[in-house]
C-alpha cells in the first residue's frame, strides 16, 4: 500500500466518518431529507472508492452494500426506519473499526461478519429484486472470499510476480467479460463497450471486481507458496503479537494532524516577520551605544509580538467542540433505543473552539455524563407521561466560551435528584455521620455523586458500569484544571456544568518559593493571599487552622512537605495562599510569593511522572526550573 495515499485517504475518511456518524442519526429523525440522503450516499461512496484503490476489500464490501441500501432509500424503495438504521449503524461501526485499524498500522483485516453483509443484502433485495444490477457482480464476493481457507489473507503483501499475474488476469477479464472459463463470474453491466470510456459507476464496479479478483487469486497463489517459501505462515503470528502494542502506542499519541485555516498561518508568518524585525533591532542596539529608552522600546515591541504570536499559534491548536459533540447523537440514540426511552438531543454552540488536547481529554468524561443523563436522568416514556411531561425526554449539550474558560453543560429534563435522598445515602454508605450530612447544602449534596464509591443506580447496569465512575469524571476534569457544578430539581431535571480553561499548554500560575526553589500554583485555584500571622491560627485536633472571616480553614505548611530537613521555624514574612481544591478551601503557607507568571507546561522527566503532587515543570523567566504543583495530588500525598 502506498503510505502517502493511505494517509490522505485516512484523513479524508476520518472526516467523512465523523460527519456520517452525525448524519446517520439525523437521517433517522428526518428520513425525507433528500439532501442529507445524498450526502450520506456520497460519503459511503467516497470511502468505498478510496478503499478500493488501496485494495482493502473488506471495507469495499461493507461500503458497497451500505451504498446500495441508501440507493434504495433514495429511490424510496426502502424506508429508513429504526431497524434499517440499526443494521446501517452496525455497518458503519465496522467501517470505523477498519479505518481505525488502518491508522493504527494494521494492514490485514478479517472478513466482515457475513451475517451483517447478508442483512444488508436482505434490505436491498427484500424489497425490489430487479434493481440489483450493480450488486449482481458484487454478490459474488462473499462466496469467493468465504471460501478462502483460514489464515490466508486477501490483503497480505504480494510479490511482484503475483501482482503481474493478477494484472494480466484482470486485463483478461476486463477485455473478455463474458469468458465463461473464469471462476469468479465477473460481469460488466450489459451494453458496456469494453474499449469505450467508462462512467464513474462502471469504474466503481470494476474496482470492486478487481478487489474480488485480488482476493480470489490469493487462494491458489498463496497456498502452494506457503510450504516452500514459508512466507505467509510465520507472518500471521508475528502480526498478531505486534497488534496489541501498535494501537496502544498510537492511542497515546492521539491525533497527529490538524487542519489549519491558511489565514491563521498567514497571520503567524506575519508575526514571525515582526519577530525577526525586533531581533534585528535588538542586535543593532547591542552593537551601537543604545539609550535605555531605545532598549525598553524594543523589548516592549518584543513583548507584543510574542504575545500575539502565542495567541496565533494557540489558535492553530483550536478545534471546534463539534469534534467531541459529534459522537453524541449516536451515543444517545443507541442508548435510548436499548433502554426503550424517547430522547431528543440538542447540541448548542458546536462551533466553540477549544484546545486540541482538551477536545481529546474531554471526550471520555462527557460521554460518561451524557450516558448518565440518558440512563438515570430521563425517565421511561410512560413515567414521563404520568408526571405530565412530554413523552420525549430532552438533553441539551451546550458549549460556550466564557472569558478564558469554556463552559460545557449537560442539561436534562428528567427526574432530577433529591438532595435529602443523597444525604441519607451518604450516611448509609458510612461516608459521613448524620450531623455533617445535614450540614451539607443542596449543592454540596449533589456533589456527593462525584465521590468515589457513591453509586446512585440501585443496580449497576451494563450501561453505567463502564469502569468510569463519576469520581473518575471529576478527577479527569480536575486534572484539566476545570471545575464541576451540579444543579438539580426533583421532577424538573439536572444540569451539570463543567468549566475548563481554553488551553492546556499555557497555564497562568502564581509563583511561590522556598529559598531558591520556586513552585507554580495554578492560578485558577488561588483565591486570596495574605500575611501569615501566628495569632490567627488555632490547632484543632492536631490540625493547624487559620481563621478567615469567621471561618476556620485547614493550614498546610508546604515547606515541611517540600523541603524536609530545611525546616525553618521562623515564619516572619511567610504568606498564606488560600486555594480551592475541589469543593474545599485550604491555606498553604509559603515563604515567598513572587507574583503571577504564565508558564508553558513541560512534562517531568522519566521516573518522576508517577510522583503525586506535580503537574509538570516549567522554565521560569530567569532560566531556572520551577515545579508546577498539582494541589489535589499534593494534598493526597501528604494526608
Amino acid at each position: 500500500m502506498d503510505e502517502e495515499i493511505l494517509q490522505d485517504f485516512l484523513v479524508e475518511a476520518t472526516e467523512l466518518l465523523d460527519q456520517l456518524n452525525e448524519q446517520l442519526v439525523d437521517l433517522e429523525n428526518s428520513p425525507d431529507d433528500s439532501n442529507l440522503l445524498n450526502t450520506i450516499f456520497r460519503g459511503f461512496h467516497t470511502v468505498k472508492g478510496g478503499a478500493g484503490f488501496l485494495g482493502v476489500s473488506s471495507l469495499v464490501q461493507v461500503c458497497h452494500r451500505a451504498e446500495n441500501v441508501f440507493d434504495k432509500i433514495r429511490n424510496q424503495e426502502v424506508a429508513y426506519d429504526a431497524d434499517v438504521a440499526d443494521v446501517i449503524l452496525r455497518a458503519f461501526d465496522q467501517i470505523s473499526r477498519i479505518i481505525g485499524e488502518l491508522s493504527d498500522g494494521v494492514r490485514e483485516f478479517d472478513d466482515i461478519d457475513p451475517v451483517l453483509l447478508d442483512e444488508l443484502d436482505a434490505i436491498v433485495k427484500g424489497e425490489v429484486q430487479e434493481a440489483a444490477q450493480t450488486s449482481s457482480a458484487i454478490t459474488v464476493i462473499p462466496e469467493v472470499s468465504l471460501s478462502l481457507p483460514d489464515g490466508v489473507d486477501p490483503d497480505g503483501e504480494i510479490s511482484d510476480d503475483e501482482f503481474e499475474a493478477l494484472l494480466n488476469q484482470r486485463d483478461q477479464l476486463l477485455g473478455e467479460p463474458s469468458q465463461p472459463a473464469n471462476e469468479p463470474k465477473l460481469q460488466l453491466p450489459e451494453g458496456v463497450d469494453p474499449d469505450g470510456e467508462i462512467s464513474d459507476d462502471e469504474f466503481e464496479a470494476l474496482l470492486s471486481q478487481r478487489d474480488l479478483l485480488l482476493g480470489a487469486e490469493h487462494k491458489p497463489q498463496d497456498l502452494p507458496q506457503a510450504s516452500p517459501a514459508v512466507k505467509p505462515k510465520p507472518k500471521a503470528p508475528i502480526k498478531k503479537s505486534a497488534e496489541p502494542s501498535v494501537p496502544a502506542a498510537s492511542k497515546a499519541a492521539g491525533e497527529s494532524t490538524v487542519r489549519v485555516d491558511t489565514r491563521h498561518l498567514d497571520a503567524i508568518m506575519n508575526l514571525v516577520g515582526e519577530l525577526v524585525l525586533v531581533r534585528n533591532r535588538l542586535l543593532t542596539l547591542r552593537s551601537a551605544e543604545a539609550s535605555l529608552e531605545d532598549i525598553s522600546n524594543a523589548v516592549g515591541n518584543l513583548d507584543h509580538v510574542t504575545t500575539d504570536l502565542q495567541a496565533s499559534v494557540m489558535k492553530t491548536r483550536m478545534q471546534p467542540v463539534k469534534k467531541v459533540f459529534g459522537r453524541f447523537p449516536r451515543v444517545v440514540r443507541d442508548l435510548a433505543r436499548k433502554l426503550g426511552k424517547d430522547i431528543d438531543l440538542e447540541l448548542v454552540g458546536e462551533e466553540t473552539d477549544l484546545d486540541k488536547g482538551l477536545v481529546e481529554a474531554l471526550a471520555d468524561p462527557l460521554v460518561h455524563l451524557v450516558r448518565n443523563s440518558v440512563d438515570h436522568g430521563i425517565e421511561m416514556p410512560d413515567v414521563r407521561e404520568d408526571a405530565g411531561k412530554s413523552k420525549t425526554g430532552r438533553i441539551v449539550l451546550a458549549a460556550e466560551q466564557e472569558g478564558d474558560h469554556i463552559l460545557l453543560s449537560i442539561t436534562d429534563d428528567g427526574k432530577g435528584m433529591d438532595p435529602d435522598m443523597l444525604r441519607r445515602k451518604a450516611v448509609e454508605k458510612g461516608m459521613m455521620d448524620e450531623a455533617s450530612a445535614n450540614q451539607l447544602d443542596d449543592k454540596q449534596a449533589f456533589m456527593l455523586i462525584m465521590s468515589a464509591g457513591f453509586s446512585l443506580a440501585k443496580q449497576v447496569s451494563d450501561l453505567s458500569g463502564r469502569g468510569v465512575g463519576m469520581d473518575v469524571v471529576k478527577n479527569m476534569i480536575t486534572k484539566l484544571n476545570g471545575s464541576i457544578d451540579i444543579d438539580s430539581a426533583v421532577g424538573e431535571g439536572t444540569r451539570i456544568k463543567i468549566r475548563v480553561p481554553l488551553t492546556l499548554a499555557i497555564l497562568p500560575t502564581l509563583m511561590v518559593s522556598f529559598g531558591h526553589d520556586s513552585y507554580a500554583i495554578p492560578l485558577t485555584s488561588v483565591q486570596e493571599i495574605f500575611d501569615y500571622d501566628a495569632n490567627k491560627t488555632n490547632t484543632i485536633d492536631g490540625q493547624t487552622m487559620v481563621r478567615l472571616r469567621k471561618k476556620s480553614l485547614p493550614l498546610f505548611f508546604l515547606a515541611e512537605w517540600l523541603r524536609p530537613g530545611h525546616f525553618d521555624d521562623q515564619r516572619k514574612g511567610d504568606k498564606i495562599v488560600i486555594v480551592s481544591i475541589g469543593n474545599q478551601r485550604v491555606g498553604l503557607v509559603v515563604e515567598q510569593v513572587n507574583g503571577q507568571e504564565e508558564v508553558v507546561i513541560k512534562p517531568l522527566g522519566v521516573m518522576l511522572q508517577n510522583i503525586k503532587g506535580y503537574a509538570g515543570a516549567t522554565i521560569t523567566g530567569n532560566g531556572n526550573i520551577a515545579l508546577i504543583l498539582d494541589l489535589p495530588g499534593l494534598i493526597e500525598r501528604f494526608k
Partner: protein
C-alpha cells in the same frame, strides 16, 4: 583522548586471532570502576550545572535539569550501583542517554574518560539468570588491562520508569 579506531576487517591482536567487530563505547568512572555505554545510546555529555531537586522523587533521582527547553531527569549513577554517595566536583558529568526518540535521561557520573572501540570478542556477556547483582550490567569487557563494566541502559531505565 580518542583511541585509534580499529580498521574493519583487519586481524585484531587478541588471542583467537580472528577479525573483530567492535562496539564503540563512552567510558566513564563511578567510584573506582570503569563503566561503558554504547555511543549509540548517548546523546551528549554535559557539565553539571544547576540541578533542581524534586521533593518526593526516589533516592536515585538527583533532580531535573533544563536541556535546551526539555526537562530531563538526572539519575545518580553511584546510587544505581549501590556505591557511596559523593559530592559533585569539576570532573562530574551528566551523560544524557536516549531511551527512545522522545525521552532521554541523565546519568550522573564521576568522570568521563574517553570514547573507545571495544572488540566484541573481549566482552563476557552476563548470564541472564544471575539475579540481583547483574542488574543493569550487560557484560564485562577485559580490554587493554582494563576491566570495563558495560551498562545495560535499557534495563536500567525500563525497571524504574
Amino acid at each position: 583522548m580518542m583511541s585509534q579506531i580499529l580498521p574493519r576487517g583487519t586481524v585484531d591482536n587478541d588471542e583467537e586471532g580472528f577479525s573483530s567487530v567492535t562496539v564503540r563505547c563512552v567510558l566513564f568512572q563511578l567510584d573506582s570502576e570503569v563503566y561503558g555505554i554504547n555511543v549509540k545510546k548517548i546523546r551528549e555529555v554535559l557539565r553539571v550545572g544547576q540541578i533542581r531537586e524534586v521533593p518526593g522523587a526516589s533516592n536515585h533521582v538527583i533532580g531535573v535539569i533544563n536541556v535546551r527547553g526539555v526537562i530531563v531527569t538526572v539519575v545518580d549513577g553511584r546510587g544505581m550501583y549501590h556505591l557511596p554517595a559523593k559530592q559533585t566536583d569539576d570532573d562530574s558529568r551528566i551523560v544524557i542517554i536516549e531511551i527512545d526518540d522522545d525521552t532521554s535521561v541523565g546519568l550522573m557520573v564521576d568522570r568521563v574518560i574517553e570514547v573507545k572501540d571495544i572488540p566484541e570478542s573481549c566482552v563476557d556477556l552476563m548470564a541472564e539468570n544471575r539475579e540481583g547483582r547483574s542488574a543493569y550490567i550487560q557484560g564485562v569487557a577485559h580490554y587493554q588491562d582494563n576491566v570495563i563494566v558495560l551498562v545495560d541502559t535499557d534495563v536500567m531505565f525500563s525497571v524504574v520508569r
